[in-house]
Every structure is written in structure tokens, then in C-alpha cells.
Symmetry: C2
Subunit: 348 residues, 2 copies
DNA sequence: TCGGTCGATTTTATCGTTCAAGCCGCCGTT
DNA sequence: AACGGCGGCTTGAACGATAAAATCGACCGA
């Protein structure tokens, strides 16, 4: 029988190492390793003996050592944003959950960090990658002129993004929601229900998501030939419930108020519902309201809303990142636009 | 000048290693290491030369290798829960954010994982610890008869918990909110405002958080001698907005309805507000409502609410966990009860 | 009987870092 | 001049794992 060449500590304080198992089973470290990673190379008799010792000692291979050898940490970085006190209906937690779940399926974990702004985020991502702490990072909520993609490309950090910039999108992997199609679907539905004057509650111009949702409303209204009588029903403000209430009130005060509104987020839509209630109007009967994101608030309030397949986005992004980092070489980056889906409830 | 005994690859594909720096600066690896970790041991001239080479090569010490050597991964595990579709106002994201931020301050990162239930969570925590992936874990939302603490103690996994079990709390570190004091404060405030019939909207019995909040309401009502006329104003249901609406409606239908209610969560309180509106009653004028958690929804709706210092909880838990894992030995576990604070708004 | 192939296992080297011990030269002391 | 001490640096070993190469015996065909 062979002797183990490693040190002979008998599994004292910490858990057992591969050398402990090797020694106890009377084989070499490598054979133990093979039992775990390439069982077909080991004779069944030996394998069973080793497996039994592994069970007895409660041996679990050390991830850190494995990562060092494999020069792949099995980690993906993600910046957790500070919680907004404005938005009453966010979905980034759904995204994160999907990311973690998909990562786990591919034997990767998600490592969280915080950063004050996107510049600090880029720096942190770069540092994490340079120190070998992560094999790649995930970016959330990319803006049209976001600096993050180009910075990370310059630093050589592998990444995949939810959302995309205005330019250079062919150079990196992204998954995005067809936000315009979402608001278009909302308008189409409202038109089919007989509405003609359909307002839009949106964010101020300049965000990728907000602009796309506004564009969808505009395109659909135009397609139905309703722009002439509705082009002034497009109102904007920051993403807060109070904004939704104010903007809706403003629209209702018009000489020709809308009979329906499409909101860029559930937060704005919930605010709009409030404005209706303040005037004794009933959502869905007097005025139809459609939100965006299908949050818990929407389902609780019976608010129709456009649902993003955000879990699917998380899965795709993680799968793509793992493919890119563990894969053999540089294939074409994934660029995928997913369709949202209108969920109908009492409000419209 | 000495030669470096390590291999001589000139920093090809990946980033530079400590050996590359040593070779380029004409010193040994250990000297480079000392420049970074114990600068006082290195002569200023040498130090500057090495520092310059470090900057030129863009060298960043590899965390994985460092972790292996130090046998401390610099990671803390945390289970991210699946997102509830019921609760419209959760605060676990605030907790997680605080945790990550506090960890970063102590050079630790948070590693996320998912698990179907608390048993799976315990197993995953144990596996993460046995494989050396984390130096400890954080538990969220401990129930009275939660199995997690004792399981982790049995497995030897270091942890710190938000919340505590009914028994054995002296054996582990926890931070909890004095939930009873929160609802007591709410009742005290309402009594001072002249209310006598004060209802309670809570969860069914059996949860640590829910029971404590109910207990606080009961204790304060008793202390003010109001139980006789209000003991039937305690209604319970699952934590959903619709529940809040139903329960509130039920209370309002009583022959002697409450003039104020304390809710166990903002979700229930928001539902209650809805019930008031359905009957044309005004919150804060006709009926006072106080929620719990001070979520974004509360501030958006002008709902008075009991605010948990959850960021403080996150900071304390992370600090304690780092102390316990990196500390020299087993000091007494931290056991800390924090006071919540009543935030007054228009609803009461 | 000998070279060759193959399967099972061991040996060696390596991932990148840091701890512990060793070496060398300089200074001050007696 | 011999010695101890110390600052500054290098050397060797170790952390725990795995890829690649080497070893060894058995089996096979010529």
C-alpha cells in the first residue's frame, strides 16, 4: 500500500482534508480526487472504500483550494442598490432571486457588494475581478449613456447586462425587455375596450426604460390614429406614488380628460388610483388604469399591469455569463429582447 | 540581487502575480508581501521601488490564494428568500443592504444562496461552511421553534441571527427588535390622542414577530385599563393587503367599532386604509391607523408606522459575526434587543 | 519470451499567497 | 577581537486541491 505524501495531521480542529481521507483509506490524494471528479478512473472496489471513508470523516472538498487550482472562483458579482424610499413597487429583488437560483444551478454563487454610484460600481467590479474574487459580474438597469459597459470592456472584466446602452451594444452580452411593446400592448387592449383618449404617466426623458415605455404608448396611439386628440395627455414626473397622484389629477382636470391611462410603473399607477379615489371615480369603470411591472401592489389592488419576465432575464443573464467565463473561447455575445405580457385585472 | 524562486512567467493572460512583481522589482515574494501587509518591515527605498512596480504591473493580490492561506474565505452566507407576492411592503432588502455594507467595512462580502425551506437552508449553510466557502452565516426571521440555531450549533457553524427562538437563546448571538414595545408605543400615542377603542390587526398566532406585536398591544391596552371594552377588537389573518381590508371591514361592522387600529405590518395597515376609503371614512380623522415597518408604502400614503432600526440590526449582526469568526476565541455571544420608533404621519 | 497496450494508482508540479525560520551584515558593548 | 542583537531580506514550507506525467502490473499477440 502506498503512503500519502502529504502531511499527516489527523483532522484536528477544522474539517477533514483530502489528505486525511487518503491516509485513512490507504490511497493517494489523487485517487480520492478521482473518486469525486472522475469516478470511472477508479476501480469499483477502491472507489467504494474511499467513498466510505469520505462519509465517515464527513469530508467535503474545500472550495477555496479548488478555486485557486482551477483559477475560477465560482462567484459572480452583483451590486445591491440602496433601497428606494420612493418606489412602493420594485422588482429588483425578483431579479436578484432569479440570478442566485440560476447561479446555483451552475455551481456558482452570487457575491454582493455596494457602491455609491455607477462609477464606484465599475471600480468595484474591476477590483473584484482583478483580485480573482469573481469570474464575472452582472449589471442591472443600464442607461442609454451608461459608462459601465465600456469601462468593464476596457478593464477586461467579463459581464452580462440587464438593459443596454444607446451605442456599442454589439460588443457585450445583454438581455432587455421590449418595454415599448409592453405599453403598446396596453394601449391596444384599451383601444379594443373602446377607449379613445388614453393618457400616459411616465418618467422624465433620459432613461432607457422610461423612454422606451413612452415610445410604445406613442407608437400605438399613432397606429390607431388617436394622437391628434391625445398628444397632450403625455405627462411626466419622478417615479413616486405622489407623482402619480398629481399627474393623474392634472389629467382629470383637463377639459377633455382621458378615459384611460397607461403608467410607466406600478408605483405611478398606484398613485393614479389614489387620485381617482380622491374624486370618487372607480378604476376600471370610470377610468381604466394599466401599470407596469406587475408587482405585489398591482395584484393586491386589482391593477392591470404589464409583466416583465424578469425571472427569465435573470436566468438568461446568469447562463450567458457562465457560458462566457467558463466556455472555451469568445463566441458571439448574447443579445436578447424579451416580450412583456399584459396581465388584466379589475382596473382595466 | 536575489532571484525569485517562484516560476518566471511574465504575467501573460491573467493579471500579474506576486512573483511577477518580485522578479520585476528584484526582490523576493515575501518582501512584496511585506510591502503590502507589514510596510514597517521594509526599508523605505525598497518599499517605494516595489510599490512602483506594483502600480506599473497593476498587481492586485489574489483573494482566493490569500483566503486559502489564511483559511478564512472573507465571506458570509445569507439565504435570499423567494419574493412574496402577498406582502406589498417588505423590509428584507433594507436588511440585506445594511448587511452588505457592514460586511464591506470589515473586508467581508456577502454570498447569497437560495433554499426551499429552513431545513434546506440549514443544510446549505452547513455545506458552505464545511467547504470553507464562508466563515459564517446570517439567519433572518427566526421563529419561536426554529430549528436553524440548534442545527447550526450542532454542526459547529458560526452564525448570528435576526430574531430569536423561544429557548436556548443564551447559546448564540442574536439581535432582535422589541416588537412588543413598538405596538405599545403605538397604543400609548393613540390613547394620548384620546382614543379608547383601539383595534389590532395581526397575524395568526405562532410567529415570533406577530405574537410579540400582539402582546404589546394587549399589554398597553391593559395598562390603560381599556381591555374591558376592547378585548374583542383583536382580529387576525395572513399578511396580505386583502386581509387588512377584510379585517378592518369586519371591525367597522361591529356595534361598537374601534376609533383606531394598530396593524402588525404596513401591508395590513394599507389594506385597512382601503377598507376605510371604501366606506368614505378618512384615515386619521374618522379612524386612526398605525402600521408597522415604516416601508415606502407608509411614507407614500401618509401612514403612521413603527420603524424598526433594521439597518442597525444588520450592522450589529455583521459586526458580531465578524468578531466571532475572526476573534481570538469564544467570548460571550451578543444578545441585543433594539427599540423601534413610532413615526407619525397623517393617518394617526 | 519479449515488446506493447491498457487500466489503476502514485508522484510531481502547480495555483498565489503568507508564516516561520534562516541568513547576512552592521552596530555597539566589554 | 569576539559576541549578541537587530534590521532587512531570502528561503522553505504550507494552505488544500487537481492536471499532467510517471509508475507498475497484468494481459495480449507475435
Amino acid at each position: 500500500m502506498a503512503l500519502d505524501s502529504g502531511r499527516g495531521r489527523p483532522a484536528a480542529g477544522g474539517s477533514a482534508t483530502i489528505s486525511d481521507v487518503a491516509q485513512a483509506a490507504g490511497v493517494s490524494r489523487q485517487t480520492v480526487s478521482n473518486v469525486l471528479n472522475a469516478p470511472h478512473r477508479v476501480r469499483p472496489v477502491t472507489r467504494e472504500r474511499v467513498e466510505q471513508v469520505i462519509a465517515e470523516l464527513g469530508y467535503h472538498p474545500n472550495r477555496v483550494a479548488r478555486s485557486l487550482r482551477a483559477s475560477s472562483p465560482g462567484m459572480v458579482g452583483y451590486r445591491i442598490q440602496s433601497v428606494s424610499t420612493e418606489s412602493v413597487a420594485a422588482i429588483n429583488d425578483r431579479f436578484l432571486h432569479a440570478l442566485v437560483e440560476a447561479g446555483q444551478a451552475g455551481n456558482h454563487h452570487v457575491l454582493l457588494f455596494t457602491a455609491a454610484d455607477t462609477d464606484a460600481e465599475s471600480d468595484h467590479c474591476t477590483a473584484l475581478w482583478r483580485t480573482g474574487a469573481v469570474s464575472g459580474v452582472v449589471l442591472y438597469d443600464i442607461e442609454p449613456h451608461d459608462q459601465r459597459p465600456e469601462r468593464l470592456i476596457a478593464a477586461g472584466v467579463p459581464f452580462a447586462a440587464f438593459g443596454r446602452t444607446a451605442a456599442g451594444t454589439d460588443r457585450y452580452s445583454w438581455v432587455d425587455i421590449d418595454n415599448a411593446a409592453g405599453t403598446e400592448a396596453a394601449v391596444d387592449h384599451l383601444v379594443a375596450a373602446g377607449h379613445r383618449r388614453i393618457g400616459f404617466l411616465g418618467w422624465p426623458e433620459g432613461t432607457s426604460v422610461g423612454d422606451a415605455r413612452a415610445r410604445g404608448w406613442l407608437a400605438a396611439m399613432d397606429r390607431h390614429g388617436l394622437l391628434a386628440q391625445s398628444h397632450r395627455l403625455d405627462v411626466r414626473g419622478p417615479d413616486a406614488m405622489s407623482t402619480g397622484t398629481c399627474l393623474m389629477a392634472e389629467l382629470l382636470d383637463r377639459p377633455e380628460p382621458p378615459s384611460a391611462v397607461v403608467a410607466a410603473t406600478d408605483t405611478l399607477a398606484v398613485g393614479a388610483l389614489q387620485a381617482l379615489r380622491d374624486r370618487g371615480l372607480r378604476a376600471g369603470e370610470d377610468v381604466a388604469v394599466v401599470g407596469f411591472d406587475d408587482t405585489a401592489a398591482a395584484s393586491a389592488l386589482g391593477l392591470s399591469s404589464v409583466r416583465q419576465p424578469i425571472e427569465e432575464v435573470g436566468r438568461l443573464i446568469m447562463a450567458e455569463l457562465l457560458r462566457a467565463t467558463s466556455g472555451p473561447s469568445d463566441l458571439d455575445p448574447l443579445q436578447r429582447l424579451l416580450e412583456p405580457e399584459l396581465v388584466l385585472r379589475a382596473s382595466g
